[in-house]
């Protein structure tokens, strides 16, 4: 993901056969390049752009009224609210956790560090459906924590906390994964220097660690948001599909789809598509700013 600075072709390094041969080689190189670019563009068009266009076309197929009815439907709005709530909770939780975890892992040495790093990656490796089932088996009616929850009148699965929990689980590694390599690359020289000068941990963290990682942190938060907005599998298992209560936007879309309301399903999908595009734009801004700042630092 770092700068892909292509090495400029050095004319001196090319052996000296006839100029014509060199031109042929160059032409061939150009053809190959064009073919590769064309393939790449085609792939992106078919795999990424086409689905987006399809969503928008289908969403507006039956006119603006159907579209606006679908997205202002009270259940759609409730679903959007729940999705936003779960996303906010996931982002906040995982940002805090990500900051702590990356700081611990990259700036300190302790036994079991590698193990901890591996643990953080579990949500990447596990299928979200299994994650959901695990929550059911723990907090559900047949789960071992059920009696305790009943005694305290708490509800986890098939209620909003379950949806939030599942979202947090699947987006768990995003911020930490983004920060750990960044902080490891930076090393802890500056922090050590600051400590030697008598700065407290909070000052060090605030004045040295955080400013260095802020763009990476924002980037992680953006990725985490994107993933949380679209989460389907784990949430589907723990939600119980209670209309207006535990349906998130992706679940709402699936329900609309299986009820033959294709247009409405795509209309609601377009909300997520719009969110995705906004996120992508933010991502690019963050990336650009981060890179610019880096250049300034290097200078």
């Amino acid at each position: 993901m770092s700068d892909p600075n292509p090495i400029p072709p050095n004319p001196a390094s090319i052996p000296q056969p006839a100029a014509a041969a060199r031109n042929t080689a160059r032409a061939q190189g150009r053809t190959a390049r064009l073919v590769l670019i064309a393939l790449g563009v085609l792939f992106i068009l078919v795999m990424l752009v086409l689905p987006l266009i399809t969503v928008c076309v289908y969403a507006l197929k039956q006119g603006w009224d159907v579209f606006s009815n679908a997205i202002t439907d009270p259940y759609a709005i409730k679903a959007l609210q729940l999705t936003l709530l779960a996303t906010a909770a996931a982002v906040i939780c995982n940002t805090v956790f990500g900051l702590f975890a990356s700081w611990t892992i990259s700036k300190f040495h302790f036994r079991g560090k590698q193990f901890l790093t591996t643990l953080i990656d579990i949500p990447f490796a596990i299928s979200p459906v299994i994650a959901g089932l695990v929550f059911i088996l723990v907090f559900g009616r047949i789960g071992w924590a059920y009696d305790f929850l009943q005694a305290h009148d708490l509800k986890v699965v098939f209620a909003v906390p379950g949806v939030i929990l599942a979202t947090i689980f699947v987006t768990f590694p995003f911020v930490a994964r983004e920060l750990i390599p960044l902080m490891q690359a930076q090393g802890s020289d500056e922090e050590e220097a600051a400590a030697l000068m008598g700065a407290g941990w909070w000052t060090i963290y605030r004045k040295i660690t955080l400013p260095h990682i802020k763009w990476g942190l924002l980037y992680g938060i953006i990725l985490c948001t994107a993933r949380a907005l679209g989460e389907f599998g784990a949430v589907s298992v723990v939600s119980g599909h209670l209309r207006g209560k535990t349906n998130t936007l992706p679940l709402h879309i699936e329900i609309l789809f299986s009820e033959f309301q294709l247009t409405a399903a795509f209309a609601v999908s377009s909300i997520l598509v719009a969110a995705a595009i906004i996120i992508l734009i933010l991502r690019n801004i963050v990336e650009f700013k981060g890179r610019k700042e880096e250049h300034e630092h290097v200078r």
């Binding site: 770092s2 009148d153 390599p181 930076q186 004045k207 040295i208 990476g216 599909h241 299986s258 033959f260």
Partner: protein
């Protein structure tokens, strides 16, 4: 990300004061927010507990909420029914009632209730699915007789959905076992609807073969040889036939078939066979939950009111056959009322016997598929 290295001493470079403050407040916000989130969760639960406690009191609170866990194709029915029930309950008790709906595959929905999805009432596709909840201790035995007509306020049956103009000339069950006819039906191992399909075909075969089991088995075998897509659920099979345009005939719930026609009036038509099966979706109050929440009264009335004339008409409008014969006769334009219907209790000895005979491991369905 392009941020890999930030050079050494620059960390001490003076930061723009505004930025610094912004970062600090962001950090604080981030740290404080989960606490706030936890707090709000706790308070929601607390509020819920309050209403639960209050509704158990003799004096009724102004509003009550019940959850109806149902199966896939009942969405439109209950959307309409909930409205008339809200009016009815307001008149009857003065309370405002909110009904939370949940829809999905019948078996899956039963499973979720069993795992803790708190439904006050279930309105499922199969008696068996409700029986699972009874086994799980959520519903008290004897629920089948709690409401009229074995707790089936509306019924349905199995019909054929064919492409417009009926190009393969399908009229009855013996037409769909002919070579070259492609049949779409879900898998009876996983789908409730598919079991009704299977039993309806069996009933036809029995009648035409003079109850010769070997011949009926052969008939069913030919039928399933013609099945080109064996989906796991009824809604999936409908999508395969209607949206993906596979096969010549779909064995479908009558209400699903009507719904497909409503969506695509120019593409499909319904063929009613000479004999089919009376499918009785079951409703029940989930005693454990209703007791806990103090919603027994409203839950019971919710299901009881399904038998009212108004609700029965609503069922007919949504292509379910009303269980009240008078109302049913008003829908003679929609439904083929001359269709001979067998039913599970009289003709198959109940679900348990039917399951054991046909759908258990290495029972008749398995034998057909092994041969």
């Amino acid at each position: 990300m392009g941020l890999k290295r930030m050079n050494g001493m620059n960390g001490f470079k003076e930061l723009n004061g505004l930025k610094k403050r912004a970062l600090l407040s962001l950090t604080l916000l981030v740290a404080a927010a989960p606490l706030a989130a936890c707090g709000s969760n706790a308070s929601t639960t607390g509020a819920a507990a309050d209403t639960q406690g209050a509704s158990a009191d003799a004096s009724k609170p102004a509003s009550v909420e019940i959850t109806n866990v149902s199966y896939d194709p009942t969405r439109e029915l209950y959307e309409a029914y909930n409205k008339i029930f809200q009016t009815h309950w307001k008149e009857k008790s003065g309370q405002d009632v909110t009904i939370v709906q949940s829809h999905g595959g019948s078996g899956k929905q039963a499973r979720s209730v069993l795992e803790g999805n708190e439904a006050d009432v279930v309105t499922l596709a199969l008696e068996q699915d409700v029986a699972e909840l009874e086994k799980g201790g959520l519903i008290e035995p004897g629920w089948v007789d709690e409401f009229d007509k074995q707790s089936s306020p509306y019924t349905s049956t199995i019909v054929f959905l064919v492409r417009k103009g009926n190009p393969k000339g399908i009229k009855d069950w013996d037409d769909i076992v002919k070579p070259g006819v492609e049949v779409i039906t879900p898998n009876p191992k996983t789908s409730g609807g598919a079991r009704w399909n299977f039993l309806a075909a069996w009933a036809y075969a029995q009648e035409h073969d003079g109850s010769d089991e070997a011949k009926s088995t052969e008939f069913i075998k030919n039928l399933y040889n013609n099945v080109t897509v064996l989906d796991t659920g009824a809604r999936g099979a409908t999508t395969t036939f209607v949206e993906n345009k596979q096969g010549d005939v779909l064995l479908a719930w009558e209400n699903e078939a009507f719904l497909s026609i409503k969506e695509h009036p120019d593409d499909y038509e319904i063929v009613t066979p000479s004999i089919s099966i009376l499918a009785q979706p079951s409703v029940a109050v989930v005693d454990e939950i209703a007791k806990k929440r103090g919603t027994e009264e409203v839950s019971k009335e919710y299901l009881q009111y399904l038998y009212s004339d108004e609700a029965q008409k609503l069922a007919g409008d949504n292509y379910y056959r009303p269980s009240n014969p008078d109302i049913l006769s008003q829908f003679s334009d929609t439904f083929d009322l001359d269709l001979k219907l067998v039913n599970i209790d009289d003709d198959f000895g109940g679900w348990e016997a039917a399951t054991e005979k046909f759908f258990a491991d290495s029972a008749i369905f398995d034998q057909i598929y092994q041969k």
